[in-house]
Amino acid sequence: MKDVITSPKLHDCRDAFVAVLERLGAANPKVVAVCNDSVGSSKLGGFKSKWPERLVNVGIAEQNMVGVGAGLANGGLLPFVCGAACFLTGRSLEQIKADIAYSNANVKLIGISSGMAYGELGPTHHSIEDFAWTRVLPNLPVIAPCDSIETAAAVEWAARYEGPVFLRLSRVGVPDLLPPDHKFELGKANLLRDGDDITLVANGTLTHRMLKAADILAEQGIGARVLNMATVRPIDVDAVVAAARETGAILTAEEHSTFGGLGSAIAEFVVAEAPVPMKILGVPGIFAPTGSAEFLLDEFGMSPAAIAEAAVALIARKSSRA
């Protein structure tokens, strides 16, 4: 599947989200959008012009936004609660815990512009803690699609799923990686490329960088398995254990802190089920300096070349153990 990158064109996954949301909205009058003055940044202008009364804008008040979402679901509606991921999760975490996850409210939380998408706006606007905050909550699937195809599929899935969902989207352009007819399955990683020497796991904006890193490794005669793991909770334990047993080393990368995110979630199972050398790439536990998301990902060692270097170093640890 080396030619899995089907198009070099970059897509803003928010467009895929709202296209599906508007399709769902046309088919089901119970679909409502809830936002915190974020009509523009959540790209809800089209939804608003079609169904102005079904856009519930609570103003700049995220705690109320999430609570209102729970109440709308109690009243029989299907709310998509949209806001910048940093505020949606950080400001309203207790509402997400008590009103949504613990109450089992059928609410879809859509974190927009996650990771370091707000780049130069600085760490207040970065959402590099949200995997950690949300994935510890029971009853809340946490999903970060890697491209517009997976975004659309995940939104379709979320609308069908009875229960809370946290969907983490970016605004940074990414190429389409998955086949156009891709169907989203919760907790199921996608094998994008097979290999025996190491497994590279990523989601969101890092998956395409991992594929490029695998290309670089292939030129060096290293076979890297690449897994796209959109679902951070529940983790695809079978894919993780198979990766550990069959390739002997796992390198993860994410637009998130190295503490508590995708890599940590994988490590929890690697330690328990099949210990092998691991390396977690991400934001190394600091408030990021000024820069765009793309710049910062490179800065933190997540350019394809740097990922490939980290993979080579990790493979060396594997052989030194043998």
Partner: protein, 269 residues
């Protein structure tokens, strides 16, 4: 049901609540006693509900935002037939579905999980807004504590309820003048409440929240704006030595105190 009958039921609920606190060795008895008259009026007169169909789409919604008085809600739900009266005996016991704060996925009649303060009102705003969007006729009621109004999320919700024109929403503030550690006035005194709510675009009614003949008409009032009932209540109402004593926020009576309290509540049953 008339105020006299409601008073009798409220006394029975108080007595069962007291017994359950005594047996469990825990509870929030002060705030339970202040709220029970309003809970009784809601469940035995005002709310349109069907205990055998707790998820009926047309049911009126009640949200107990001051979730720490869950026991008062459990006893009321049991008396109204949502759960069995025997089940109250399991309160706080291992694996009981009746823990210290109500769980909507386990206890029929509970609408949303509360416990952390400042959560119920935003959810109630969503419920009332949903009725507006779907054309449903149910009404939404939510009860907060007065100390709970210190949570900023409530004021986010109050502003949005007015903006959305939620004339189908009633907020009851159980104004018993005490919070966990001290009097409201010595902590962060939001009282008087009426002018603040009116400034946000709400209608406000002030009542004696332990007087049934004032509670019922206030709950049944209908207007064109969201409605707040500022219910002046007594913490520990109905048990003389508990009344207006901050200690009784979550203190448990000893055997002697228990006998006195039972005797007081049993009068005129």
């Amino acid at each position: 049901m008339q105020p006299n009958d409601l008073d009798r039921i409220a006394r029975q609920i108080r007595l069962r609540d007291l017994q359950a606190v005594f047996e469990a060795g825990a509870g929030h008895i002060g705030g339970e006693m202040s709220a029970i008259d309003i809970l009784t009026a809601l469940y035995f007169r005002v709310l349109r509900i069907w205990p055998d169909q707790p998820k009926h789409p047309e049911r009126d919604r009640f949200v107990l935002s001051k979730g720490h008085v869950a026991l008062a809600l459990y006893v009321t739900l049991a008396k109204r037939g949502f759960i069995s009266e025997e089940e109250i005996g399991t309160f706080l016991k291992p694996h009981s579905r009746l823990n210290g704060h109500p769980n909507c996925n386990k206890v029929p009649g509970v609408e949303t999980n509360t416990g952390p303060l400042g959560h119920g009102l935003p959810v109630a705003v969503g419920m009332a807004k949903a009725a507006k969007l779907t054309g449903a006729n149910y009404r939404t009621y939510v009860m907060t504590g007065d100390g709970e109004m210190q949570e900023g999320s409530n004021w986010e919700a109050i502003a949005s309820a007015a903006q959305f024109g939620l004339d189908n929403l009633t907020l009851i503030i159980d104004h018993n003048r005490f919070q966990q550690g001290a009097a409201l006035k010595d902590t962060n005194n939001l009282a008087p409440f009426p002018a603040k709510l009116e400034a946000f675009g709400w209608d406000v009614t002030e009542i004696n929240g332990n007087a049934m003949d004032e509670i019922v008409p206030a709950l049944e009032r209908r207007g064109e704006r969201p409605h707040c009932i500022v219910a002046h209540t007594n913490k520990g109402h109905g048990i003389s030595f508990m009344q207006d004593k901050v200690d009784w926020h979550h203190k448990v009576p000893n055997a002697e105190q228990y006998e006195i309290a039972v005797a007081e509540l049993s009068e005129a049953l």
